[in-house]
Symmetry: C2
Subunit: 333 residues, 2 copies
């Protein structure tokens, strides 16, 4: 477990997208963060108080969380000085980067000297089983997307919050580093060895009360050729009773794949349902989550109405509207 509260390290982030991790913590567990630490040239801001290490220590922060992603997931030389200083001030460090804190000899040595912990949430800490496919009690809902980074984690977190507000039993189940840093537990699915991917999701969403919902964070897309295998392992390991389709309507090509156009929501619905019904024959698509951040309010409303009619399902932007209507659709199931 990572000790809270955090100080969020934004480093020298070139833009707001690079601090997705910090933004997620600020949005979903604001009580877990006392402030943000920005270096000179930082172009991002998650809206927390700017603090020095000393000020954050004074405010009770226990862990410096690296809330920024570098290209390639590396720990840059510019950051290292700050991280060493944090360890010397008695902070633990937590990171979801590909390059691991534990592989940086200087950080390891200073951490040891000061009795501080290095948390690499990017790395599985469990030996997951091979998936058995055995039907589990309890209910599960999974966010599946037309592309990567269309708002699947946001949708799952908003849905979990809306379900709790209705008095439903639900647990957000993190499958990526941001979600793990937010909730303190989960499966870093993209770092799991191929054979154990589906098994890790069975492990993450064990048998539960019949009226309990696991709200599983999605990853990748069945149509994203770099990561589609991860998505299918989520579908088959998760045995979802319900799928939420996630989409960003202004995106022209798949993230990181300039030669690939986005699939239609219909294409995603059809192939995702076909595959989901292998592990859960009763699986249904219950709603659609649209990321309208690049549309005006009016454009978004027109688009959402059109999608509702086209699919006969509730379509919402959980950021603008909350996920109450998606929670309602699950309650009806």
């Amino acid at each position: 477990m990572i000790e809270t509260p955090y100080l969020l390290f934004l480093g020298d982030a070139p833009d707001q997208l690079a601090v997705k991790v910090a933004q997620g913590i600020k949005d979903w567990r604001p009580d877990n963060a006392v402030g943000q630490l920005r270096m000179e040239g930082c172009k991002a801001d998650v809206g927390l108080t700017d603090m020095t290490l000393a000020q954050a220590k004074e405010a009770g922060a226990k862990t410096l969380v690296i809330g920024v992603a570098n290209r390639g997931g590396t720990i840059s030389a510019a950051w290292r000085a700050v991280l060493v200083e944090a360890l010397e001030a008695g902070f633990d460090l937590a990171s979801g980067l590909h390059n691991l804190l534990r592989n940086e000899p200087e950080l390891v040595s200073v951490a040891q000297k000061n009795g501080c912990k290095l948390h690499d949430v990017r790395i599985p800490s469990v030996q997951y089983p091979i998936a058995s496919g055995v039907k589990r009690s309890g209910k599960r809902v999974l966010a599946v997307g037309t592309d990567c980074s269309v708002g699947k984690m946001y949708t799952a977190l908003a849905l979990d919050a809306a379900m709790q507000e209705r008095g439903m039993k639900s647990s957000f189940r993190a499958t990526g580093q941001t979600g793990i840093l937010i909730t303190g537990e989960g499966v870093p699915l993209d770092a799991v060895v191929a054979d154990f991917m589906a098994g890790s999701i069975e492990y993450l969403t064990p048998p539960n009360d019949d009226d309990h919902w696991d709200v599983i964070e999605g990853q990748g897309s069945l149509f994203h050729v770099s990561y589609s295998g991860v998505t299918l392992a989520l579908i088959h390991g998760g045995q979802p009773d319900a799928l939420i389709l996630c989409h960003e309507p202004t995106r022209k090509t798949m993230r990181g794949l300039p030669d690939y156009e986005l699939p239609t929501l219909e294409a995603v619905r059809d192939v995702a349902l076909t595959l989901a019904r292998v592990s859960n024959p009763n699986c249904q698509v219950v709603g659609i989550s649209i990321n309208t951040q690049h549309m005006t309010k009016d454009e978004a409303e027109v688009y959402l109405a059109e999608i509702e009619e086209r699919f006969g399902l509730p379509a919402v932007d959980p950021f603008r509207q909350g996920a109450a209507r998606l929670a309602e659709a699950l309650a009806r199931l």
Copy 2:
């Protein structure tokens, strides 16, 4: 590279299925094996001369290949004595087991003392890239199955042999430990970290002559909930121009999943083609490979004729008939 020729270690195999690795080497690269080594109680036989370590050494064998799989992929105590003896006699060891030779302190120490190598082909030896999805020159064919262990590797090896016989340019591309032990190279896909699965297949099947075919060994099944993610990574990383459907018609439930019935060939064709066309819009199913080992010759002929009519595609059992008609279908493409 693993030094040939081999002595094939069958250990105390409980049945013939357990020596799939040794059988594959014997069937496809018989010149690579001088004989087989069986312990007391061994219930398997791949039809090579039984030899002691000394006899095999005399016959020129360089490497003892563990050609048998234990439940759970472990190296049993009963085997260890033989393996130590082999190292003391100067053999290298090669293994595709989950449990690694390099993690057995006694084997490591004896190997060092005798200057012998321990090859764990189960473990990737390369840092694979994330898949780029960029279209590559050359052609690729992939075997996809209704289930695990229905004959996908056999089909790919037979197809490669038939294509070479026709004078076509082809390379068998191994994606599992048996295939790697047979050809001496390949990607141990089930041991690759999730994010790099599709990229490892791009790496395995690089740009090539326009008339060259990579014949990619399949893994798992889109309908096998434990391993389906691996299969989808093969489809998207491989960018196949052609698919061969593989099936074992007498099997009632999915391998290792007693609650799951096999999908129809039609279901596999439809979902595999839909997904394959994401990375290669021209992909086609060109033929069907049926494993008729549990049918009589007459039953097999009736079944194959029925399948040919149902799908309008060549349907063969490559073990009984060779894969010439599948190679012909590729040549026509």
